[in-house]
Structure formats: C-alpha cells, structure tokens
Amino acid sequence: MLTLAILLPLIASLALALGPGFGERVARVIALVASALSLLALVVVWLGFDTGAGAPAFQAVAEFAWIPALGVAWRVGVDGMALAVALMSALLFVGSIAWPADYKGKARQYYAWFLFLQGVSLGLFLALDLLLFYVFFDLSLVGMYFLIGRWGHGDAEYAALKFFIYTLAGSLAMLLAILALVLANDTLTFDMRALIAAQPLRGTDLKASLVLFGLLLGFAIKTPLVPFHTWLPLAHVEAPGPASAILAGVLLKMGTYGIVRIPFSMMRETFAAYALPLAILALVSILWGAIVALGQTSLKRRIAYTSVNHMGYTVLGIAAAGAALGAESARTLALTGAVTEMVAHGLITGSLFLMAGSFWQRAQTYEMSAFGGLARTAPKLTAAFFLAAFASLGLPALAGFVAEFQIFAGTFAVYPWLAAVALIGIVVTAALFLSMAQKLFMGRAAVPTRDFPDFSRTEAAVVAGLLVLVVLIGIYPSWLLTLIETGSAFLPGAGGVR
C-alpha cells in the first residue's frame, strides 16, 4: 500500500511527461486523480494503523531486493511520526496541485514535475532503507530545481541553482556520514530497523562525532538552521506559489524528519552528547528567523523567514528530547511537540504560501506596501489569512499552539534557560504576523477592487481543507498525538535513556 502511494504519482508523472497529447485540462485531471489516490492509499494505511500499546515499531512494511550485495533494498514502512508527516505532505500536494497556477504554457510538464515531487517526497518519509532515503532526498532536489527554474519568476534560474548546489552539498555530506555509519555496523546493511537496533556508533570519539556532524550538516541545510539558511528566502521568493508551499510544507520537513529518523534514533548516545549545541543552534534560528522576518517588506520573504523560526522550534524540541537530561516524560512531550509542529507548520505555512501565490497572480508583486484595505475587497482571503497567521503565531485552540506548547513544556524541563529565551521568538512572531495582516488587509485600499478578486471556488476549497485541520488539531489534538506517539522514536529507551 505504501509502495502504491509512492509509485502512483511517479507513474502518472511519467505518463504526463511522455504523453505529448494531453491538454491543460486532461493533465490537470490526471494529476489531481493520481495525487488524491496516493493520499487515499495513505489514508487506508492510517485506518489499519495499530496505535495500541503492543503495536510494532514499524507497520505496513514491504520489502523488495535491489542490491543485496550491499544490503540495499526497497524497504518501506511507517511509524506514527512518518505516517503523520506523510499524510500531511500528501494532503498539501493535493492542495498545491489543485491550486490555480501560471503554467507558462507548459501545463503537462508542470503537473508532471509536481507528481514526481510528490512521489519522491512520500518515498522519503516512508523509506526504511537509508540508501532509499538518500535517493529520494536527492531526487527531491532535482524536482524542485526544475520547478523553480522553469516556473519561477524574477531571477528564478539563479535561485534554483543556489538551491540545488547548496542542498546537494548537504546531501552529499549526509551520504558520507551514512556510509561511515553503515560501515561501522558489523553486517553491511542499509536497513534502518537493523541500524536503530544496533546503534553502530557510540560515544563522542572523532569518528562518531564526524558522522553526527555530517548528518546534522545535511539536515541543517535542508531544515534550514541558521547559518545554513541563505538559500531559502531566495528559493521561496522566486518559486511559484504552490512550489513554495511544497518547499516549506514538505521539503523542509525532510530535514527535521531526517534528524529524528537517523542521528536521533541511530546514534542516541552521540546525539545526546551534542544535544545542547544543537539546541543553541535552534535557538539562534528561532531568534534570527523571527527578527529578520520582522525586517522584510516582501510578503513572501517574511513568511519564508518565519519558516526558519518555526523549524527552529522543531529542532529545539528534538534536541531537548534527545538530551539525556531531565524526566523522560518531559522529553517525550518535547518530541511529540516537535513532530506536531512539523505537521502544523506544513498545514499553516503551506496555506500561507498558497495565499501568497494568489497575491502574485493578482498583482505580480509581493511587496506589502503595494497592498492595503483588502478586507473589503476580498473578505474570504482575509479571513483565511488571518486564521493562518494566528495559527502560525501560536494562538491557543489552533494547531501551532498545541505544537509549541508541548515543545516549550518539554524543553523547560531539560534546558530551562534556552526555552525562556526562545519565548522571545514567539513574541516577535506575533508582532510580525499582526503587522503584516494589518498592512495587507486594513487601512486604505491600494489596489482597485476589480484588480483584486476574492478567492475562486478552488482556492477557497483548498485553503478551507487545510485550515479545518489546523482548527481540528487545535481543539481536539489527541487523535494526532496518539498517532505520533506510536513507534520507534518513542519506544522505551529512545532519546538517550538506556
């Protein structure tokens, strides 16, 4: 079933790429159907997912040989974290594909690349083989490169180049670390389950430290953590709206998901030793992201920098969970919060970027000064934007609050001072979202009404679909939290405890 969820979009992408006869409409329908079917396959897995106490660490596992001589195989399977992130990703993909976009006359190729990206992104979250994980990690770069370069605006080619080179550097550093980790194991295998059980590298000697740094470098670039974030604002600004949503909602999660899946789970002892520096780096990202976002005049750049800030919370939660300090319950809380933040940030920032795409479609600019008083002309857009902005700044009863509350509650027990300083980030975020919403929607109208129509029906449906979940998680989070807390990262002994 998981294999199906990965392959369906890929096959449809291939069909779109090779079948020259498809018009814009047919291409769109094919893309939507394939994308939705892939989501459906994941929902089926979810319905059969066992969240009970005796549930196995990984479920819905499937395995096919690829290169047995190297211990490499097509291995897929999910724990609660992977399933939650994958479901969110698939949903966001359906929304982004449905979102009206400027195809620049190449609808078929546009949808083909989106489906390709959906297949490889889901593949990454569902993979149980380190090499497969790496393959999908790399392929996601290729897909994003062509999406930004071809359908972006402004200096798209440069942005795409910088994105590709920057993140490939990270992914190759990660590859070397993966190889060293695998070679440190007694048997040559890339099976994640075997490596999690074996913990091949321990302690803080040079080798283990370098491997950990390699992995963290790769994921820190992808996440991104300050100071490895400089590719992000550029890529976001030049990418088309739906691609930005995917970049923020799905591709950034690959970094944090990777941290939990690989160094956090496979090198617990080493990770615990370096948890504090990682937490400090996360704190820097939180503050830097928030403060720099405040200084942006472009709507999209501002949202982009809040991603740096939010991913900082996630990494802070992961670092706190991985530290061998404090009560175990607190660390579990921090990790649950971090994973919830991944899901919440995907939904919230995904919808924010989609809406930013609407601004560009209507006005060809992201400068906030070009807008004003939109509440009168576009009430639906205004309501949705405010809701998403409130969720993003962590208002209670919305998904962002659930996530951040748990991260902070957990982190206070482990690194009280860091958590206290990080709270400043929340204050700044609140300020920047409120001032942005104020500039865009209040005050004097800067754009004539007829040039700025309200949401189309598709836009309204997509944003509603995403934001309903944001509210649902905010009000009644337990269904998500139970799902997330099932699985390997939460097993007794995880997170530095033995």
Partner: protein, 470 residues
C-alpha cells in the same frame, strides 16, 4: 599455447584485418559496411569474453590475467567500442576512406583490452603503445581540419613523453624486482624493502598510466581531444583507453603491500589533484565538448580513489568497475547526443533544446546528472560504491574532497542544463539521422537499466580481487 584464453582478442584482430582489407577495395558508397562488420566482430568477441566468466587464473606464462575485473573490463571496452561504431557512419558519411576508421577503432580497443588483462609490465607497455598509436590516428582523423590535427598532435606529443617515461619506469622496476611479471614482482615486493629507485620506477610507470587515464599530470590532451577530434573519436578516446588503464593501474597498485612503498598515498594525492584540477578548469567553459573533456579529467580523479584503496577494502574492485561502467555509459551518451546534434558545441547553441528536441535534451540532462551521481542512474550506484570503498579503506578525507568536488561539478553541468530547459529556443536543430538517434536511446536506457542490474555486476566482483595476488 593456450590460444583459447585470448579468443576475444583474436576475434577483434581478425575483424580489424577483415575491415582493413574490405575498406581498401570497397568504393566510397560502401565504406559504411565497415560498421556492421565491426559490430559483428565485437559481438563475437563479447560472446567469447562472456564464455570466460568464472575463470580465475593467470595464463600465457603468467602474463595475462583472467579474473572478474579483466573480464568485466574487457566486456565494457567491447561494448563502448560497439557504441562508438554506431556514431561513426553518420559522422563520417562525407569522408572518402572512413572504412579504415573502424579498423583503427578495433586496434585501439585491442590495446585497451591488452592493458585490462595485463599481468606483466611488458604486456602493459605493448597494450599502452598499441592503444596510443591508434589513438593518435583517431584524434586527427579530420586530416584537413586544424583543430582535429592539433588535437592529434597534442595527444601524440604528450603520449610520446608519457610512454617513454613508462618504458624507463619498467626498466627500473625490472632492475629492482628482477621480474616484469606481476606474480614475480608481487613476490619480491612482499618479501623485500622499498627503495628510492623502485619508487622512481613505480612513479614513472604511473605517469604512463596517468596519460592513458587522462589523469594529472598527463591530462593536458583531454580537453583538446574532446574539443577537436571527431565526436565519435572523442567518445571513444575519453572512455575506452581509460577503462583499460584504470584496471591496469589498480592491478599494478595491488602488487604493493601496504607500507613498503608509499604508493597508495601517492595515488590518493594524484586523485585529489586530478579531480580538483579537472573541476576548476571545467567551471567556466563555454563549449560543451571542452567542458566534457575537463569533466572527464575530474572523473579520472574519482576512478583513482578506488585505485588508492585497492587491497585495503573488499569494495575497491567492484567500486572501480562499477564506476567505470557508470562513467562510460554517461560520457558515451553525452557525446552520442552531441554527435546526434551534428556536433553543436557552443553553450548558447543549446538554448531551448528541451522545447525543440525534448528527447535529446532529456538524454543529455540524464547523462550529465549521472556524471554528477544523482540517483537512480548508474553513475549514482558507481559513485556510491566508490565512496563506500574509499571510506572503508580508510581514506575518508579523500571521499570528503570528492564530495566537495562533486558539488562543484554540479555547477558546471547545470550551466549547460539550465539554458536547455529554461531559455527560449533560437532556431531549428538538425540531427544526424537514425543510427546516432538509436545510440542516444541505447545510451539513456543503459544509464537507467544498468543501475537496476548493478547487483549482477557487484556479486561476482565482490568475490574476486586482482590476480595475481587477490
């Protein structure tokens, strides 16, 4: 004499002679028949080579190695030569005597095969000289085009220097070890101490091999040949001699026990210099063929990583062969696409190719990304195994340097990919017709399919080292 052990080579010689005789008497309109003749000969040789699979022994008075590395290497040489043969009829259609070209290709391939199987320094010299002498002709085949002649001349001058160095090196090595056979040399090296004269001898032999490999400091011919030689010759010369030389190089290094003569650190340094130099020179090239030439230099540097860890990691042999397969498939495909587009080579001429010739553009992009090592191409599998072997062999710093170089290489490949995908097309693009089109399709198929079949290559290679020691 165990003639049966060199049947593939005999098949190549016989078909080369047959083509030569045919080309001498056939009229111009029938010269192309040399191509199918060559293909038949190569297919027969490949079948005979496959028949040898599983054998692991030295033969012909211990001067010829039949092991997995030599068998797969020679098979790759035969396949690459056959691929080049597909490119030639269209390219040389106007050439009055191009039938001989196929004979030259076969002779040069024979030289490379001789290097891949050599278990004796004299045999190695013979192979290198045969491969070089025929290579000069291939590079300068456009007799009245200055760039081609210049490429041949440069190839020849550097070759003369390198081959002389190699012969002197063989003499010194023979003097110190008392044998030119690898088995005898290996025995002497295992027992005795290293000496400065021996090191000089080994370095001189390595210089000769570096020339065939296109590695520093004997790499200078590579970009000129890539730019000036006829495209089929370029495809051939950047791949086939390299395969033979890389295997010979690794076999030579395998003779040295770790510690006696510091040959592996030397090779590692050579690898680092070669890949860095090739990449830096490729960065700002405006000519696709020249860029591919420099990238080919840097790829030689990667291949040397596997040579540096020979004997230190069980992954060294499979890494070398797998990487060579990946490099050959990607590089040949890229040049096949260039030949298919009638040799267009300026970066600006590729603007909007994805719109005008989507399939060819897709193939070039696939080939270039495979050269970077992006999955799921054979280039990725090769590089993966290469990194694995290098880390396993204790040369992690070299692997780290290769990673940095790979990132740099992505930059110059993307400089050519971006205009194909993102720029508007300028004018219609002519192609060379069906045979080169078929070659392009085969090449792109090989890049993807070989990656799926990598297991079939790895398993036999994992079990075997290099004769005479492994």
């Amino acid at each position: 004499m165990p003639i049966g052990d060199i049947l593939p080579e005999i098949a190549v010689v016989l078909s080369a002679v047959a083509i030569l005789l045919f080309a001498s008497f056939a009229p111009q309109r029938l010269q192309w028949i040399g191509a199918p003749l060559a293909l038949v000969g190569l297919a027969a040789a490949a079948a005979l080579c496959v028949a040898q699979f599983g054998e692991t022994r030295l033969t012909f008075s211990q001067s010829w190695a039949l092991d997995a590395a030599s068998q797969w290497g020679r098979l790759l040489i035969l396949g690459a030569t056959a691929f080049t043969t597909l490119l030639a009829p269209g390219w040389f259609a106007e050439d009055r005597r191009h039938g001989e070209y196929y004979a030259m290709l076969l002779f040069s391939a024979l030289g490379a095969m001789a290097m891949a199987g050599a278990a004796d320094l004299l045999q190695l010299v013979m192979g290198a000289l045969l491969s070089s002498a025929s290579g000069y002709v291939l590079a300068a085949y456009h007799r009245d085009w200055a760039l081609s002649v210049e490429a041949g001349m440069k190839f020849f001058l550097i070759g003369a220097l390198a081959n002389t160095a190699m012969v002197v090196g063989v003499v010194l090595t023979f003097g110190m070890l008392g044998s030119t056979g690898f088995a005898g040399m290996g025995g002497a090296l295992a027992g005795g101490q290293g000496s400065p004269v021996l090191l000089v001898g080994a370095v001189l032999v390595i210089l000769g091999l570096a020339y065939k490999l296109g590695a520093a400091p004997m790499h200078a011919w590579m970009p000129d040949v890539a730019e000036g030689a006829p495209v089929p010759s370029t495809a051939f010369l950047t791949v086939v001699p390299k395969v033979g030389a890389a295997i010979a190089f690794a076999r030579f290094v395998s003779l040295f026990p770790e510690g006696s003569v510091a040959i592996r650190p030397l090779v590692a340094a050579l690898a680092l210099i070669t890949m860095t130099l090739g990449n830096l020179a490729a960065l700002w090239q405006e000519d696709l063929r020249r860029m591919l030439g420099w990238s080919s230099v840097s790829q030689s540097g990667y291949a040397l990583m596997a040579v540096a860890v020979v004997g230190l990691s069980p992954h060294a042999v499979p890494a070398l062969i797998l990487f060579l397969f990946g490099y050959a498939a990607s590089n040949l495909t890229a040049f096949a696409a260039v030949a298919h587009l009638r040799g267009r080579t300026a970066r600006a001429d590729y603007d909007g190719l994805a719109t005008t010739r989507p399939w060819v553009a897709g193939t070039i992009i696939l080939a270039l990304l495979s050269l970077v090592g992006i999955p799921p191409s054979i280039g990725f599998v090769g590089k993966l195994e290469l990194f694995l072997a290098t880390v396993d062999g204790g040369y992690s710093w070299l692997a780290a340097a290769a990673v940095i170089n790979t990132v740099a290489s992505l930059f110059y490949y993307l400089r050519f990919i971006a205009p194909m995908m993102f720029a508007p097309p300028t004018r219609p693009v002519a192609t060379l017709g069906l045979p080169t089109g078929v070659a392009v399709a085969i090449g792109s198929g090989a890049i993807l399919i070989l990656a799926m079949l990598a297991e079939g290559l790895l398993t036999p290679l994992m079990r075997s080292g290099f004769l005479p020691l492994g």
